[in-house]
């Protein structure tokens, strides 16, 4: 035991004796382990960590005939008669459009989820405050009630007395009956802001259609995604087979919805969003793999760095080890001492790594909470991410193994047959001998690998950063400055459809009189609206009058995005009509000819050589719409609001029974600050004009663009990649510096001799810089090739990533070369200033 403490004491002394080496090694360990731990903690939160519900692995999503949604009666039938689920719940985001939650004077956008009454009980979740839904509350016509998420409860003041109070959700008065627990997000990582019973769907979303005199099931209940909890002992395949036998009954209930040959399938739950109908796990998996790959590369560079430094340092200890052996030290005893030194290094590095990981996670949470991530994803990370101890232990073990293995190297080569050789040479001589025998294989290769990995990572980071910049690039067809978008929810003010529409139009007219405002437009759905997914149609054809049937028109495109705007929309957005005219008020009249404005993409397909004005088009999914006449052509959108070459945009006038959701304002002045002043003041102005009309959100178009999920997400990935690229660059340069420094130190007598023989400082500088230049150059080359491969992999997972371009290559190679030169120059300069006499006396 005393000998062990002695070895620990010696180990600490050895670490203190080389403060530079120790500091670099600790920083390397901390960055390598810490970065990986942070990254995997994020991936774990998004992808692997079990949801905080009872037995999440027994939950499955039901798919019928490639449709994921089921009408309410179908759900009830399955719920009560199925042989495989102990519980079957229904949930619906009902289009994913944010609702407006109004409490007193405050208005906030919320994402509602409509659920069956057994939702919380089936998931095994008890509320933080109050209670969850009763069976009768699920039914249409029952008193509307709401359960708040923890996040929403906090935003409303976080008081337990909130249970029993009332809020308006899209104008429908709802009683708060409960608050969900803090970490509960439902059946996905990203959860809703409020839960409402299925039967309130029609009430809350009544802006789609007025409540009929005798509302039926379709009005009250939104079609829902079904999630079942498998009975104990029932596997997915068995459940699937047994459910298939129920399908004919479902087909009988809904003959038009389901085909004869339909299949019933069960799938794992989507990970990110409960409303997601597709399995997002493969995409998430690819992205996670990419992120883990990036951090894994940093870990590898860190380990190579560490191994290199330890080997170099160990090379200078051959004499010490030979002396220890010569005075009686056995191999095991000497190895134990070296092992303890390596362990001490790894332990201290691990402690530092924990600090780095904790700090990094804290910064990430803060970042997410500040809205630097797409809102709900940011909430998931802000509230859910935690340090994953398993990953910390795994990466620490990996580094420990590397540290220990390479730390033992000097002792492993120990042989009593060769002691006198090591004793005869001084420290420098031993290192020289080692270098001559072994230089190019381990250390040159290590430098090469570090350079290659760093180049690959930095180049990928540069590419992602450039892609992100391109995504952030302003829309060329119109500027972003001087434009403000106001999201309103007329229903939240208690208006019916007609009143709501009139209120919006009246408001638009009054706003036109405001001196600071140049133009005002309205939209129900536009590319820049908050939270809207565009309607897409599967067929677009040209209508030829006199043709026999729908199929007579030529197919123009297989996908199209449809929007509803008023006549002043394009003026307010600053989009210049290339041909034709804007919408007129009469275009919205029920008996008016149906007209559309299309973009250039569709116009070119209609008439490649002429004008598409006046053409007639039809579009739809199974059936086609009535013919619509093209009255105007606008430029394509090319930024994140564009949707690619195969998805043109079509604009329709806002339908008579639809209510505008957004007001688009264009400021008269483009002076700096004018737009911000408008953003600040417009809410008060609207309240003055119409105090009943709730304003859900006000944002400049520039902010809306910056906060677009694609822009945010690409920006996040790019920032992460740049961060890791910088880490890789830093580690590689640290490692290179350490190796060069040690090389210079070990060659000091040689340098002294050279200078005594007439070498100038410049000669010495060149000698040192040239050392390892070949490894560096080959590393740059290999790294560039590796980067090209990595880019192809990333492109398959992330949309919008461009191929490697000359700028990325030049920037990366220049950065790495400069870093490598700088890392070499400092020790080289030190070498050139050596006094020959001191060098020759050097031992």
């Amino acid at each position: 035991m005393a000998a062990l403490w002695q070895d620990i004491g010696y180990g600490l002394r050895m670490l203190r004796k080389s403060p530079g080496f120790t500091a670099i090694a600790l920083v390397t360990l901390a960055i390598g382990i810490g970065a990986n731990t942070i990254m995997f903690s994020v991936v774990n939160t998004l992808l692997f960590r079990p949801l905080p519900v009872k037995d999440p692995d027994r939950l499955v999503r039901c798919e019928f005939d490639k449709l994921n949604i089921v009408p309410y009666a179908g759900y009830v039938d399955l719920r009560d008669n199925n042989p495989v689920f102990s519980d079957l719940i229904a949930n619906s985001y009902y289009g994913g459009v944010p609702a407006a939650l109004v409490r007193d004077a405050s208005v906030m956008p919320v994402a509602p989820l409509f659920v069956s009454a057994n939702y919380f009980s089936a998931l095994g979740v008890a509320p933080l405050h109050g209670r969850t839904f009763l069976p009768e509350e699920e039914l249409g016509g029952a008193e509307p009630v709401v359960v708040l998420s923890y996040r929403t409860w906090r935003r409303l003041g976080a008081g337990p007395e909130i249970v029993g109070q009332y809020v308006r959700v899209n104008g429908t008065l709802c009683r708060i009956i409960g608050v969900a627990p803090k970490t509960f997000t439902g059946t996905a990582v990203v959860g809703p802001d409020v839960w409402l019973p299925l039967g309130t769907g029609g009430l809350v979303r009544r802006y789609y259609q007025e409540k009929p005199e005798k509302p039926d099931e379709r009005w009250y209940y939104p079609p829902s995604v079904l999630v079942g909890r498998l009975k104990p002992g029932v596997s997915i395949s068995e459940a699937q087979a047994r459910l298939q036998s129920m399908f004919p009954h479902l087909k009988q209930m809904y003959p038009r919805r389901y085909k004869e040959t339909a299949m019933f399938r069960l799938h794992p739950l989507p990970r990110l969003n409960a409303g997601g109908v597709d399995n997002d796990r493969p995409t998430l998996g690819r992205i996670s793999l990419g992120l883990m790959g990036i951090s894994g590369v940093v870990l590898l560079i860190a380990c190579l760095n560490l191994a290199n430094m330890i080997v170099v340092q160990g090379g200078g200890r051959h004499r010490e080890i030979a002396i220890r052996a010569a005075i009686g030290g056995g191999r095991l005893r000497i190895m134990r001492q070296l092992l303890i030194e390596s362990l001490l290094l790894a332990v201290f590095g691990g402690i530092l790594a924990v600090a780095v990981a904790l700090w990094g996670i804290r910064v990430l949470k803060l970042w997410a909470a500040m809205g630097q991530l797409p809102m709900q994803l940011g909430s998931a990370i802000a509230s859910g991410i935690a340090l994953d101890v398993r990953v910390l232990a795994a990466t620490l073990s990996f580094c420990l193994i590397a540290t220990v293995l390479f730390g033992l190297k000097p002792a492993l080569r120990l042989s009593r047959r060769d002691l006198c050789g090591d004793l005869k040479e001084s420290g420098r001589g031993v290192l020289e001998a080692t270098r001559r025998r072994r230089f190019f294989v381990p250390r040159g290769l290590s430098v090469l690998c570090q350079m290659a990995l760093s180049v690959a990572l930095v180049m990928t980071a540069t590419l992602l950063a450039r892609t992100a910049l391109r995504a952030v690039r302003a829309e060329p067809s119109f500027g972003l400055n001087g434009k403000v978008i106001v999201s309103v929810k007329a229903f939240a003010g208690g208006y019916d459809i007609a009143q709501a529409r009139q209120a919006c139009e009246r408001l638009a007219e009054r706003l036109k009189d405001v001196p600071e405002i140049q133009a005002v437009g309205l939209s129900r759905k536009s590319p820049v609206d908050l939270g809207w997914w565009p309607w897409s149609r599967e067929r677009v054809v040209e209508y030829v009058p006199g043709g026999a049937d729908d199929a007579s028109g030529s197919l123009l495109t297989k996908a199209l995005h449809e929007y509803e705007v008023d006549g002043d929309y394009f003026k307010a957005m600053g989009i210049r009509l290339q041909q034709g005219r804007p919408f007129r008020p009469l275009d919205s009249a029920p008996d008016a000819e149906e007209v559309v404005i299309i973009d250039e993409l569709l116009a070119r397909r209609l008439r490649p050589d002429g004008s598409a004005l006046g053409c007639l088009i039809q579009y739809g999914d199974d059936g086609l719409s009535s013919p619509r006449r093209v009255v105007g052509i606008v430029p394509n959108l090319q930024s994140v609001w564009g949707n690619g070459e195969d998805q043109p945009h079509v604009y329709e006038p806002i339908k008579a029974h639809h209510v505008p959701e957004s007001i688009h304002l264009r400021a008269r002045s483009t002076a700096p600050g004018a737009e911000a002043a408008l953003v600040r003041s417009i809410g008060a102005r609207i309240r003055k004009i119409d105090p009943r009309l709730p304003v859900v959100a006000v944002a400049s178009l520039a902010d809306r663009h910056r906060n677009h999920p694609t822009v945010l997400f690409t920006g996040v990935v790019a920032r992460l990649a740049v961060m890791f690229g910088a880490m890789a660059l830093f580690l590689a340069s640290l490692g290179l510096y350490a190796v060069k420094s040690h090389m210079v130190a070990s060659r000091t007598p040689e340098i002294g001799i050279r200078m005594a023989l007439g070498a100038t400082r410049r000669n010495i500088l060149t000698l040192v810089l040239r050392q390892g230049a070949i490894s560096t150059f080959v590393g740059l080359l290999v790294g560039t090739l590796l980067a090209i491969v990595m880019t192809r992999v990333i492109r398959s997972a992330l949309h919008g990533i461009s191929t490697i371009d000359l700028v990325s290559i030049v920037v990366t190679v220049a950065m790495l070369t400069a870093t490598s030169l700088l890392a070499s120059y400092i020790p080289a300069r030190r070498a050139s200033r050596i006094d020959p006499m001191d060098a020759l006396r050097y031992e």
């Binding site: 010696y10 004796k17 004499r319 010569a326 009686g328 056995g330 002691l419 006198c420 004793l423 005869k424």
Partner: protein
């Protein structure tokens, strides 16, 4: 104590075998003070390293106190080395990261001597060599003579029966060298067998026998005490 029969050491080079030692036959009794002399490259240090078991690549027979070293595995040679031998190096070969006290403690620690006993032995050794005041200094803080003194002390701390000294005065000036030689002579009188390598004839005279090497061959012996010369 030591018997060498047909000891031979060679290196294999592109030009063929290069012999460093050839057909060395030697017997050294307990209590002798033997000096190995010869010109540079004669194989003196090589012979010393073989005797000290620092070099394991040789041919022939080597008996140390009846133990056939040539037949022993490295582990057993180490055990024998610990039991019998203390080595004094020309360039001191102290452990730079350890203090004087720790340098003396290290050989005892490797021989699994208990802590309390080690402390007692080290203190005695420090006192014996008059370097108690330097026990907490590092080798870089000592003069050459002091370092060699510590080197000799380290070689002796485990009470070896045989001390091998390779040019112990090579890096010292004359007065320091004399002090070291006087010390070795004193140890020899106390019963320790000593084999030294030196170029200095004056220091060679401290011993009672001189073995001459040239080009790897034994060239002859001179017995000093008997004042006779054997050719």
């Amino acid at each position: 104590m030591i018997k060498l029969n047909h000891i031979q050491k060679r290196y294999n080079t592109r030009a063929g075998f290069v012999y460093v030692l050839q057909q060395i036959n030697l017997t050294i009794e307990k209590g002798e003070f033997v000096t190995i002399m010869g010109p540079s490259g004669a194989g003196k240090t090589t012979l010393l390293n073989i005797i000290g078991m620092l070099d394991g690549e040789w041919e022939g027979e080597y008996y140390l106190d009846e133990n056939p070293v040539h037949e022993l595995k490295p582990k057993h040679r180490l055990a024998l080395n610990r039991q019998y031998i203390g080595f004094v190096f020309q360039n001191f070969n102290l452990l730079d990261s350890l203090t004087v006290y720790e340098n003396l403690d290290a050989p005892l620690s490797y021989r699994n001597v208990k802590g309390s006993e080690r402390a007692s032995i080290v203190c005695d050794t420090l006192d014996r060599f008059g370097i108690v005041g330097k026990k907490d200094l590092f080798p870089s803080q000592l003069s050459g003579g002091q370092q060699q003194l510590v080197g000799v002390a380290r070689a002796l701390v485990a009470s070896p029966k045989l001390i091998l000294a390779d040019e112990p005065t090579g890096n010292l000036h004359s007065s320091q060298g004399k002090d070291v030689m006087d010390l070795l002579k004193k140890l020899n009188r106390e019963g320790t067998t000593i084999i030294q390598v030196t170029h200095n004839e004056g220091y060679a005279a401290y011993g009672n026998r001189i073995i001459k090497l040239k080009d790897g061959w034994q060239e002859g012996e001179v017995v000093i005490e008997q004042s006779a010369r054997k050719e």
